[in-house]
């Protein structure tokens, strides 16, 4: 039986400050002047109460790449960032393309307890883009997979993509596409533009993303299926999604925190911490994705948390791996790039980082408004705090964060997953008392 929590004076979204009682893994009561004898009292004065954050795009690396991250360390990082659920991308070893692997991931997530781990299944066997994986078996497994992606690899063959979109309709699934034309990005190292021209690094042109998104929204429209576009990064991609939504295409889109804040100018020092796929783009693109997120064209923020050991980053740019860790910094980066700029408020943050990703991924007990009877997934965030982001803010196994040394606003003070504190007073709880 979990501890009873009395959260006092939290700022609820669109409402007055209130107290929240958490009992038996649920929110049992919200009101003022509440108390429970023997309960742990959490003073939430000045803290914003958000529904527990949900990340639709996380790389947990287990099984197969435990030197970079494990499900335990990755979900500890998630908790530190205020997340109560993460969707695990399938590029593990073996690839999560069978019921067995996704059920193993689910079980490891349950054992860790720091966040709900919802596996994503591969679209094609081995993410090779050739034959459909057993999507139905993953959907009906204990993991109840609803999101399928070959992330890292684009489902490039238009016929395979069409079939995948059609097939997942039978269990309300969605294809999450990593939009990257492989031919237009052979050897690509960074955004193609003025900076790549100067640095002599092979370009990753915006059109390689936009042309795939354009094709996929037309395919989704044609077969009447649900499409999710991963980590879109260019102004043109925002335009295409806006156009598709206006036509009524059933498409959702995500943007990463780093594409909301960082530009390709950072590549100038050849510091591989800034190497990521899709690459950091121009200032104009950053402004366009911010605008797209603010006006609802882009539905969600997802981290694309991608841990790598230091030897894969502490090397020549060309030899370095793509990816950045992002779970611990995501909310603070969204705070800086979207809230402090006045583009969105905290209710919108709850929508794009909790409600919408839970809905897209069909995760029923996450992303709900904080109300009596709901499962207790709560993030208490101090928007008035600020500090330099350092390695001590990181809780996963890897430190490849582009934000080290940067000033970021805010601080996650408490994270509550299924009624249990996973972050307490800003620190990750060492032993979960489940």
């Amino acid at each position: 039986m979990s501890e009873t929590l009395v959260i006092t004076g939290a700022q609820l979204l669109g409402a007055e400050r209130a107290d929240i009682i958490v009992e038996n893994g649920q929110i049992s009561e919200i009101g003022t002047g509440l108390s429970r004898s023997g309960a742990r009292v959490i003073d939430a004065d000045g803290l914003v109460a958000l529904p527990g954050l949900v990340d639709l795009h996380t790389h947990l690396r287990e099984p197969g790449y435990e030197a970079s991250e494990t499900i335990l360390t990755g979900t500890r990082a998630a908790a530190a960032g205020g997340f109560t659920a993460v969707f695990a991308m399938p590029n593990t070893s073996p690839v999560a393309d069978t019921a067995g692997v996704v059920e193993q991931e689910l079980a490891l997530g349950e054992a860790a307890g720091y966040a709900t781990v919802q596996p994503i299944g591969a679209v094609t066997v081995g993410q090779k883009g050739e034959r459909l994986a057993e999507l139905g078996a993953m959907a009906t497994s204990r993991a109840q997979v609803r999101v399928f992606s070959d992330d890292g690899f684009c489902v490039f063959d238009p016929l395979i993509m069409r079939r995948a979109l059609e097939y997942v309709k039978s269990f309300d699934g969605v294809i999450a596409q990593h939009a990257q034309d492989p031919r237009l990005t052979e050897g690509a190292q960074m955004n193609e533009g003025t900076v790549s021209a100067e640095l002599g690094l092979a370009g990753w042109p915006a059109v390689a993303e936009e042309s795939i998104i354009a094709r996929d929204v037309l395919l989704a429209e044609h077969v009447g299926s649900r499409l999710h576009v991963c980590h879109l990064s260019t102004a043109g991609s925002v335009d295409i999604i806006r156009w598709a939504k206006k036509r009524g295409v059933n498409v959702t889109a995500e943007v990463t925190p780093h594409h909301l804040l960082l530009t390709d100018e950072l590549v100038r020092g050849y510091d591989a911490r800034y190497k990521v796929n899709p690459p950091l783009r121009r200032e104009e693109d950053v402004m366009a994705v911010r605008e797209g997120l603010a006006d609802g064209t882009i539905d969600i923020v997802a981290t694309d948390h991608a841990p790598h050991p230091s030897e894969h980053k502490s090397c020549e740019w060309q030899a370095a791996a793509n990816g950045m860790v992002g779970l611990e910094s995501a909310l603070r980066v969204v705070h800086q790039s979207m809230v402090q700029t006045g583009l969105i408020g905290w209710e919108d943050v709850a929508r794009v980082m909790s409600a919408a990703p839970a809905r897209i991924g069909r995760l029923s007990d996450h992303g709900l408004p904080l109300q009596a009877g709901a499962a207790a997934q709560i993030t208490l965030y101090d928007p008035s705090a600020a500090g330099v982001f350092t390695e001590s803010d990181l809780h996963g196994r890897s430190v490849n964060s582009p934000y080290l040394g940067r000033d970021l606003p805010g601080r996650v003070e408490f994270t509550i997953h299924r009624g249990l504190l996973t972050v307490d007073g800003g620190s990750v709880v060492e032993e979960l008392n489940a």
Binding site: E192, T194, A197, E311, S314, Q318
Partner: protein
């Protein structure tokens, strides 16, 4: 000078300093005894991750004529190809007491990574990195243009008003990039000529004009025409249809050379593909500076090593960077 990584960030004063010191070095090279004692006791490592005999022996000659000890580390085919990282290689050189590392690497930015990583305290000279820069090549090219134009009166002069046409695979050329920045810094007017497929997609910030028609560029009577080497494997990636078509449209043939004004020079960084980007008539004509460029390369590299190892180092002055 702490490192020489690029010409993009080399200011006019520093560039002229290198060129003028190279003039002094050049003067010593006409003596019977070419060797100077300047860098006695210093160790220069030539760390080459790519085969380049020409550049490597040029640096080797430069270091030896200054009496430095030279270690050639051909990293290709060594432990590096067995998976040793740049970091481990660098730390090995550090442990051996290298004072300067001359690095040639197929990855753009590798010299900068080496210089800024903290793995090594030696000065780093970029001897060509990927498709990024090749600063000593641009310096020797600028030196050659200046010498041809001003002769014994070269010292202290920049290249104001001199028109240089650079022809060929700009997209993949570190020589072109380094020349664009350096020549512009020295006041020259640079025109790039290439098939549109071999120009980077966005060069709007480069201090150079881009034209696709070689005859149009040559009609303006440039002071120097610099031909870039075409890598034959480019054809398979659809950058241009055939060797023959490239040669016809962008090659410096006998007819095009004959149309150049008196005093115009023809340059090539070598090695040349005779009959492709440059005809034998052009390469062997009195306009050609190909061999002067080789000679001047040694003087430039002597100057760079001298300024790196014997000159005042910014960090020893208390560091203003």
């Amino acid at each position: 000078m702490r490192h020489l990584l690029d010409t993009r960030t080399l200011d006019r004063e520093s560039a002229l300093r290198i060129l003028d010191v190279a003039e002094d070095m050049s003067d010593t090279q006409s003596r019977e005894v070419k060797k100077l004692p300047t860098l006695r006791g210093k160790t220069v490592v030539n760390l080459f991750f790519e085969d380049s005999t020409r550049t490597r022996i040029s640096f080797e000659a430069a270091a030896k004529r200054l009496s430095a000890d030279v270690i050639n580390f051909a990293a290709k085919g060594s432990s590096v190809s067995k998976g040793e990282s740049l970091k481990d290689t660098a730390q090995t050189l550090q442990a051996m007491g290298a004072d300067a590392v001359v690095i040639r690497h197929p990855a753009s930015g590798a010299p900068q990574t080496l210089a800024t990583s903290g793995w090594i305290s030696a000065g780093v000279v970029n001897a060509g990195d990927g498709t990024h820069e090749h600063p000593t090549q641009a310096l020797l090219d600028a030196f050659t243009i200046r010498k041809r134009r001003f002769g014994a009166d070269s010292r202290g002069r920049d290249l104001a008003g001199i028109r240089v046409v650079i022809v060929g695979d700009v997209l993949h050329s570190r020589v072109a990039r380094s020349n664009v920045w350096l020549l512009a810094t020295l006041g020259a007017e640079v025109t790039l000529v290439a098939p549109p497929t071999l120009v980077p997609q966005n060069v709007s910030l480069w201090p150079a004009k881009v034209v696709y028609d070689l005859d149009q560029a040559l009609a303006d009577g440039p002071d120097a025409v610099m031909m870039l080497r075409i890598q034959l494997e480019r054809m398979s990636a659809a950058y241009f249809p055939t060797e023959r078509e490239y040669s016809r449209r962008w090659g410096l043939d006998a007819l095009r050379v004959a149309g150049l004004p008196d005093g115009s020079i023809v340059m090539h960084p070598g090695p040349m593909n005779r009959g492709l980007e440059i005809s034998s008539e052009a390469a062997d004509s009195p306009r050609s500076t190909v061999l002067e460029q080789v000679t001047n390369g040694v003087s430039i590299r002597m100057a760079v090593l001298y300024l790196l190892l014997a000159g005042e180092r910014d960090d020893e002055r208390g560091g203003d960077q």
